[in-house]
Symmetry: C2
Subunit: 124 residues, 2 copies
DNA sequence: CCGAATCCTTTAAGATACTG
DNA sequence: CAGTATCTTAAAGGATTCGG
């Protein structure tokens, strides 16, 4: 069935993806992994503000979704590397467009917020 | 300063946008509003699963960010219409790419999940 | 019809400490 | 280095009720 899903229907499988991906940390991790393999603690440092717990959870979900590949290298203190899968890379490009939109339009949004707050919300 | 922001830095303004937009409901609302003005309760029905409270909050934030315009029409039972602003429409197009990615790749993700679960996680 | 206010439950985040 | 386990605290979300 090549019927397009109704994204607005609660039982739509696409919602599953959207639910999972509408996540600040997942997006940031995907973006960080673009074009580079990164170790766990490096990721932890680079993506400022993630706790190791949340990062761990995020990576596990991304791995489960087939977006990120986890490689254990049996060095003395063990090394674990994370990289995008082809599927993940594909998504990361989309995410990147999103991130760059935010970057380009932050000024406009900040201005809108100031205007909104200035007049006390929607007219209070 | 046209210096590109570091999206990974915690104090980066782009993170503000990302934090706010990495939201299931905001994304769904934006998508629903593409090309059409919609009333509150219509929106509530169409975006299955939103509570009225959450929808209300979401719309208020989107309005504050200058992405959605709210119009009150003084009919007998008052009518309130929501529409995308030019800025919001611009974003909605980006969001749409995101949603369509999910739609196109849901099969692959579901398969990856099944494989992952089948072998008991990352090798447990 | 639109939405604010309240309450109350559930989920998730943060900090900390400990293991392979 | 790379995680898991636990505990505490904060917040998101859902249901319900009432007012413009």
């Amino acid at each position: 069935m090549a019927m397009p899903y109704d994204v607005f229907a609660a039982n739509c499988p696409t919602r599953l993806v959207l639910d999972r991906l509408a996540d600040k940390w997942a997006l940031l991790v995907l973006e960080r992994l673009r074009g580079e393999t990164v170790r766990f603690n490096r990721l932890r440092r680079d993506v400022e503000g993630v706790s190791q717990k949340v990062l761990s959870q995020t990576l596990k979900r991304l791995e489960r979704d087939g977006l990120v590949a986890r490689t254990v290298i049996p060095t003395v203190p063990v090394t674990v590397e994370y990289a995008l899968t082809p599927l993940g890379l594909n998504l990361a490009d989309t995410v990147s467009a999103f991130a760059h939109w935010a970057e380009r339009n932050i000024e406009a949004i900040l201005a809108a917020q100031a205007a909104y707050d200035g007049r006390g919300g929607a007219g209070a």
